[in-house]
Symmetry: C2
Subunit: 290 residues, 2 copies
């Protein structure tokens, strides 16, 4: 059996759907000069087993790829179908041009349904030249899945005035990683399925009010780093309260735990960090763990 | 007859769909240190007759509103239905919260059809709490239309755990402006309708390969400032070449003409500016005209 590889995770964004600062808001958090209080929409970059994978692609996707200097991307894993996690997918066109491959997208079936509705032009038989080129792979949330490098994806060849031709793969190199989906729900009433993802020693979860069942905790056994989204201290209909977040972290028992998807309803970063137990931290944009 | 009012236009973004720099690109333009070569996706803010109006709301909408310090927005006018002009509409939620009004959106019928498909959750009968609140007004591109201030829009009242209640307008103040749509096409084959907009002395056009007919030029008579989108010097299937752009400007005869929607296929800002005839300029993010 292969030894467990170490993953590295960069927080590309740590803000809730409106980001921090929120447009037209003059609250203390939105006016903070601390760069850690400037939060793009929640997303992460994971480097693992030789592959580079983004989790979610919200409206800040371009800004996040530029800021992190990402020149190569094997795949995007989507947690769920909300706009703050999917609105930037049109910008994968740059990777199509730079890498001459479609981008692999991994998500649940209902998320693909949303993409087909919201990005109809990228799924059309007759696409207009330069429309996004991606391959959607449906995840069964109950079992681990394999993410492939894009090296052995089909090759895109641009023809002026026509668009892309799809050529057969030109490499046999099929680097892969195994990812463990963690099944959760955005609301207590199990209204919207959300997946967390475990890459070896790191598990990234956000927008999860509750796990699907006790069995999901087994999938988190032995992680060194874990994240969970939390937007406010008190009760919230679709995100865990701070207490629920801390209970989750205590139960998982990782070496270090990180709160992401923060809103301006939480205190400024420094004040919030001081409120938290040892080994629990607010994440911030650009933070690297693992 | 009312004297023609002066408009003021701020370029919120002047880049083509991928922006400049483009992700994963190391070309000279994308590596330029000149801040004028950093281009968010094309959009504009117009202040006219006491109203504040955004033209288009691409993926950079939040970044653009924050950078321009916009705390009040009466309406968004959409030129057409492409993602680089619509992907940021979810972020109008901040204005709903700050101003307690729905945001007025003006667009052609086919653009509304796209919004209903791509933002289904914002048009749903049973919306989830905090989903965008907007009123879509369909534009007939053949005649001027009136944009209303949001002061006399219905009032949004937030109830925790429920979402917004819609209350009757609390003001009779109905400030309005008249906007003249300019009918154009994204392709020579008249494949996709795109509207330009004239506000008194300023006309903003982008993504228009050709006007619908000679009659559209009459609507531009007497403008002092005019813009047109151009992505490259040579021929392009859906944007004017530089020569077509310059011919358009010469025919309109405005005092000053501005190129927007630029791509990295054009030279760096300074070099490009030096190539252009007198009174024709590349726009840049943050430039104010009028």
């Amino acid at each position: 059996m292969m030894q467990q590889q170490k993953a590295k995770l960069t927080f590309l964004g740590t803000g809730t759907s409106s980001g921090i600062p929120m447009i037209a808001c003059d609250c203390e958090v939105c006016r903070s000069a601390d760069p850690r209080d400037k939060r793009l929409r929640a997303a992460a970059l994971v480097e693992y087993g030789g592959l580079t994978v983004a989790i979610d692609a919200g409206p800040d996707f371009r800004a996040q790829m530029l800021r992190a200097g990402v020149h190569h991307l094997d795949a995007i894993l989507l947690t769920h179908n909300h706009k703050d996690h999917t609105a930037g997918l049109d910008d994968i066109r740059a990777f199509n041009l730079a890498e001459r491959h479609p981008v692999n997208i991994y998500c649940e079936a209902y998320v693909e349904d949303t993409l087909r509705r919201e990005y109809g032009y990228a799924f059309a038989e007759q696409k207009y030249p330069g429309a996004p080129e991606w391959h959607v792979h449906r995840i069964d949330g109950t079992r681990p899945f394999t993410v492939h490098s894009n090296a052995n994806e089909e090759v895109l060849s641009w023809e002026r005035g026509f668009g892309y031709h799809h050529l057969p793969p030109q490499s046999d190199a099929d680097a892969t990683i195994e990812v463990v989906p963690i099944q959760g729900w955005h609301h207590r009433e199990k209204k919207l399925s959300v997946l967390g993802y475990r890459f070896g020693n790191i598990a990234y979860l956000t927008d999860i009010k509750m796990l699907d069942s006790e069995a999901e905790f087994d999938k988190l056994k032995g992680v060194e780093y874990v994240t969970l989204g939390c937007v406010k201290i008190g009760d919230h209909h679709s995100h865990p309260s701070l207490q629920e977040t801390l209970d989750f972290f205590a139960r998982v028992g990782a070496k270090e735990s990180y709160i992401t998807h923060l809103s301006h309803q939480l205190p400024c970063h420094e004040e919030f960090a001081a409120m938290l137990p040892e080994h629990v931290h607010p994440a911030f944009d650009g933070l690297v763990i693992g």
